[in-house]
C-alpha cells in the first residue's frame, strides 16, 4: 500500500516536471504545421542552421547568428555607372593592416603610406557626388526639391542625430543624457575639407567609430553635403541657381555640384 502511494506520487511529480519542460521552453517558438516548409534549406539571415529538416549539425549549432560574406565579395550597387564608380573599391584592395582593425577603429591608413580611394579622399576638397535636383512645373510655379539633401536628412536623422544633434551643434539626446561627451559643433569645423569629413565617417575619428558598415560611400558623400549646410545655410543655393527647367519640360532631375562656401587649406590643427 505504502509503495503504491509513494509510487503514485512520484509518477505525478515526474509527469508534472515533464509537462512543464515541454510547455515552458522559452526559446521554442511552439509547434509548426509543416516544419519542412517553414525552414529554408538555403541560407537565410540569423537562422541557426544547427538543425534543419530534422538533420542535426552539431558543428553549426548555436555558433553564429550572422555569417560574414565570402572573401572578396562586393555588394551589388545597381546598374547606374556613376553610382558604381563611386562605390567600388578604387584601385587596390584594403591592405593587410585592415585585418588588424576589422574595420572597427579609426585606424589611420594614411600613416602607412597606402594609396587607397578613401585615403586619397582625405586631401580632396570637392565632393564627387553630384546632387540630384528635381524641378517640377505646376502651372506657373516651379517646385524645386533637392533629392540628395532630402535623402541625406533621413540618413542624418537615423545615423548621426543622436550624438550630433538635430542642428549639428553636437548636442543630441546622447549628450543631453550625459552618456557621451565631447561631440564637436559642425559650425566650428568649417575648415575641414570634404574629404576629411568623408574620412571621419568612413574610418571614424576620435571617439566616433567607423560607419563604413552602416553607410555606403554614396550615402557618406551625401551626408558630407548635408553637414555642410550646418556650416553654411546657403549651401543649397549654389545648386539652386544651376537647376534650370528646359522649354516644354514639366519635370526634370538635374545633377549639380555644390561647393563649400568657406574653404581653408587643411592645417595641422584640424586634421
Amino acid at each position: 500500500m505504502k509503495i503504491r502511494l509513494v509510487g503514485g506520487l512520484m509518477l505525478t511529480a515526474i509527469s508534472i516536471v515533464l509537462f512543464e519542460s515541454c510547455v515552458s521552453d522559452k526559446d521554442s517558438s511552439g509547434l509548426e504545421y509543416m516544419p519542412d516548409m517553414y525552414r529554408s534549406p538555403a541560407i537565410e539571415p540569423y537562422v541557426d542552421y544547427g538543425e534543419i529538416r530534422g538533420r542535426e549539425n552539431a558543428d553549426l549549432k548555436m555558433q553564429q547568428s550572422a555569417l560574414t560574406p565570402p572573401h572578396g565579395a562586393i555588394p551589388y550597387y545597381g546598374t547606374n555607372v556613376e553610382d558604381v564608380k563611386l562605390m567600388m573599391p578604387w584601385s587596390i584592395l584594403p591592405s593587410a593592416d585592415f585585418k588588424l582593425t576589422h574595420g572597427l577603429t579609426g585606424f589611420d591608413f594614411a600613416k602607412n603610406g597606402l594609396n587607397t580611394y578613401e585615403v586619397d579622399a582625405l586631401a580632396w576638397n570637392w565632393n564627387p557626388l553630384m546632387m540630384d535636383i528635381e524641378v517640377v512645373k505646376t502651372g506657373e510655379t516651379m517646385d524645386r526639391k533637392n533629392l540628395t539633401l532630402d535623402n541625406a536628412k533621413k540618413l542624418y536623422a537615423s545615423n548621426c542625430m543622436h550624438c550630433h544633434g538635430e542642428k549639428g551643434d553636437g548636442n543630441g539626446p546622447m549628450m543631453k543624457s550625459g552618456a557621451f561627451n565631447g561631440v564637436p559643433n559642425y559650425a566650428d569645423k568649417s575648415a575641414l575639407s570634404d574629404g576629411q569629413i568623408f574620412y571621419s565617417i568612413y574610418y571614424g575619428k576620435g571617439a566616433m567609430g567607423s560607419h563604413a558598415s552602416q553607410l555606403n560611400k554614396k550615402e557618406i558623400w551625401s551626408l558630407v553635403h548635408y553637414v555642410r549646410q550646418f556650416q553654411n545655410p546657403d549651401y543649397d543655393k549654389v545648386a539652386k541657381e544651376s537647376a534650370i527647367l528646359k522649354k516644354g519640360e514639366e519635370k526634370a532631375i538635374v545633377k549639380v555640384t555644390a561647393m563649400v562656401a568657406s574653404v581653408v587649406a587643411p592645417t595641422e590643427d584640424n586634421k
Binding site: 500500500m1 502511494l5 506520487l9 508534472i16 512543464e20 515552458s24 526559446d27 517558438s29 511552439g30 509547434l31 509548426e32 504545421y33 516548409m37 517553414y38 529554408s40 539571415p45 540569423y46 541557426d48 555558433q63 553564429q64 547568428s65 550572422a66 588588424l100 576589422h102 572597427l104 570637392w126 540630384d132 528635381e134 526639391k145 533629392l147 540628395t148 532630402d150 535623402n151 536623422a157 537615423s158 545615423n159 542625430m161 543622436h162 539626446p173 546622447m174 543624457s177 550625459g178 552618456a179 557621451f180 561627451n181 565631447g182 559643433n185 576620435g206 571617439a207 567609430g209 567607423s210 558598415s213 552602416q214 549654389v238 532631375i253 561647393m259 563649400v260 562656401a261 574653404v263 586634421k271
Partner: protein, 487 residues
C-alpha cells in the same frame, strides 16, 4: 580644370559671405541709434506711448550696453567653453577616452617637471615638450593616437582650461542599486506563478490519496471482521458507474466535447508566435538605447532600408558607442563586457586585441520559408514606422518579443486589427485597411505607387471601380494577390 573652377567660386563666395556679416552688423548698429533718436523726441507726447517706448528703448539700450561690455568680458577666460571647443572631443576630466583624463593633470605636470610652463608647451606643441621633458616623453607613450597641436592657445587660456577641469566634481554613478533590485524582483514574480500552482496541486493530490487510503484500510478492516472479500478499485468504480449510468453518460459526453474543443483550439494556436520572447545572450534593454538615448531604430538595424531583413547590428556598431561607455553599475558592466569579449576590445589598454567571438542572438520574428516578406518595401516604399508592427520599443525593458495584437492596437495611428501578430490573417487584414503612401517613393522620384495613385485619382472609371470607400488601400493595388508573398 574642374578643380580650378570650383576653387574660384569657393573663394568668391567666401569673401562675399564675410562681407555680408560686416554689412549686417553696421546696419544693426545704425538701427539702434536711429530708434533711440525717435524715442527721445516723441517721449512726452502721451503717456501710454511714452511707457511703451521707454520699455523698448530700455531693451535696445540693454543690448547696446551688452555689446559695449563684450571686450571686458573677454579678459576673463571661460575655461569650460574653451575645453568643450578644443579638448572635449578627445578628453574627459575623469575618464580616459581617446586622450587621457585631465583631472589633476596640471598638478602632476608641475610636480614631475618642476615647471609651470611644461604643460603649456605640451599643449602648444606636444612633440617639442616630449623631447624636452622626460615626463613629456612618458605621457606621449600613454596613448597610441597623436594629440593635435594647439599653438593658438595662450598660456592664460591653457591655465583657464586646466583650472576649469580641476574645478569639476566627479559625478557619482547613480541608480546602480535600484537597477539591480528591480531585475531580481521581476524574475521572482515571473517564476513564482506556475510553481505556486504546482505545489498546491501536489498538496491536493497527497490529501486525496491519504483520505482514500484511510477509507480503504477501514473498509478492509470491516470486511475482515465480517468475512467478506474487499472489492478492488476497478470493481468498485464499475459498480458505482452502473448504478449512476445516466450521470456517467452525460459526464462522458461533456468531457468528450470539451476535449474536441480544446484540441481544435490547440490547432488554431499552432504556428502562432504572439508573445514569443526567446532568451538572448545579452539582456538588451531597448528602453535605454531607443528611449533614453534617442537612438533611431535604423542606426542599429541599418539594413532595414536596403534589404528584406532588418538586420541585427554587428558588434562594431555596438562599439561605436560602447568603446566609451562601459556601464555605470555591475549589471551593466557585465553585459557590456560581453560586447568587449565579442569584439576583442581590451578595456585596460584601449586597443583591439584581435581575437573575436560571435554573439549568437536568437531570432525573434520567425516567418515560415514559404512566405516572402521584405522590410525595405514596407519601410522605404510604404513609409511604415517600425513601431506599427514591432510596438513601441522605447518602452521595451526586457529583451525583444513578438508584440501581441492588443499591444499593437494601442500604438498611435495603427490600423485596428484582430488577428494574432505575424499570422497571415494579420498581414491581409492590414493590407485591406491600410492606405498606400502618397509620399516620395524613392530618391529617383515618381515611383510606381505615386503613378498608380495619380491615375486612380484622375481616371473616373478606375476611381469608381476602386474607390468605393474614398481611399486606395494596399489590397486594391494587388496586396491580396497570393503571389505577392507566396512564390
Amino acid at each position: 580644370m574642374h578643380h580650378l573652377n570650383c576653387h574660384n567660386t569657393v573663394i568668391e563666395s567666401h569673401i562675399s559671405a564675410k562681407f555680408a556679416t560686416v554689412k549686417k552688423y553696421v546696419f544693426d548698429k545704425r538701427l539702434t541709434v536711429f530708434y533711440m533718436k525717435i524715442s527721445s523726441s516723441q517721449m512726452f507726447r502721451n503717456l501710454s506711448k511714452w511707457c511703451l517706448q521707454a520699455v523698448t528703448a530700455a531693451l535696445f539700450l540693454g543690448t547696446f550696453s551688452a555689446n559695449a561690455q563684450e571686450p571686458s568680458a573677454e579678459t576673463a577666460i571661460d575655461g569650460g567653453k574653451l575645453f568643450s571647443t578644443n579638448c572635449a572631443t578627445c578628453h574627459n576630466p575623469f575618464k580616459d577616452g581617446t586622450g587621457p583624463k585631465l583631472y589633476g593633470a596640471q598638478t602632476t605636470w608641475n610636480e614631475k617637471t618642476g615647471s609651470g610652463e611644461a604643460i603649456i608647451e605640451w599643449v602648444n606643441n606636444w612633440e617639442g615638450a616630449a623631447a624636452k621633458y622626460p615626463y613629456g616623453k612618458e605621457v606621449s607613450l600613454k596613448k597610441a593616437s597623436a594629440m593635435n597641436k594647439f599653438p593658438n592657445l595662450s598660456k592664460g587660456e591653457v591655465v583657464a582650461i586646466l583650472d576649469w577641469v580641476d574645478a569639476q566634481v566627479e559625478p557619482v554613478a547613480a541608480g546602480a542599486a535600484t537597477a539591480g533590485t528591480d531585475g531580481a524582483a521581476g524574475t521572482e514574480e515571473e517564476e513564482g506563478f506556475p510553481w505556486m500552482w504546482v505545489i498546491l496541486g501536489t498538496l491536493f493530490l497527497v490529501i486525496i490519496g491519504a483520505v482514500s487510503g484511510v477509507r480503504r484500510q477501514l473498509k478492509v478492516a470491516a470486511g475482515e471482521s465480517t468475512g467478506e472479500k474487499g472489492l478492488s478499485y476497478g470493481e468498485e468504480f464499475k459498480k458505482w458507474s452502473w448504478k449512476n449510468l445516466r450521470y456517467v453518460l452525460i459526464g462522458s459526453v461533456v468531457i468528450f466535447i470539451a476535449i474536441i474543443v480544446v484540441f481544435l483550439q490547440g490547432l488554431g494556436r499552432i504556428g502562432v508566435v504572439e508573445g514569443y520572447q526567446p532568451s538572448q545572450p545579452i539582456d538588451f534593454p531597448h528602453t535605454i538605447h531607443a528611449g533614453d538615448q534617442g537612438i533611431d531604430c535604423k542606426y542599429c538595424h541599418n539594413s532595414v532600408t536596403k534589404s528584406k531583413s532588418a538586420g541585427l547590428p554587428t558588434v562594431n556598431v555596438c562599439m561605436n558607442c560602447h568603446k566609451q561607455i562601459a556601464g555605470n553599475d555591475d549589471a551593466q558592466k557585465s553585459k557590456i563586457a560581453k560586447i568587449y569579449a565579442a569584439s576583442g576590445w581590451d578595456i585596460e589598454k584601449g586597443v583591439y586585441a584581435g581575437t573575436t567571438k560571435p554573439i549568437v542572438w536568437n531570432k525573434v520574428h520567425v516567418l515560415p520559408d514559404h512566405v516572402y516578406f521584405n522590410h525595405s518595401q514596407h519601410v522605404v516604399v510604404g513609409g511604415i514606422d517600425c513601431k506599427q508592427c514591432h510596438g513601441d520599443m522605447t518602452k521595451q525593458k526586457e529583451t525583444a518579443k513578438v508584440q501581441t495584437i492588443a499591444e499593437l492596437n494601442m500604438v498611435e495611428g495603427n490600423v485596428q486589427l484582430t488577428k494574432p501578430t505575424l499570422t497571415m490573417g494579420w498581414c491581409i487584414e492590414c493590407h485591406a485597411e491600410k492606405e498606400i503612401s502618397t509620399g516620395s517613393v524613392d530618391s529617383k522620384g515618381g515611383g510606381y505607387y505615386e503613378e498608380i495613385h495619380r491615375r486612380l485619382l484622375t481616371d473616373r472609371k478606375l476611381y469608381k471601380q476602386y474607390l468605393e470607400d474614398g481611399k486606395v488601400t494596399v489590397k486594391e493595388l494587388g496586396g491580396w494577390e497570393c503571389a505577392k508573398c507566396h512564390y
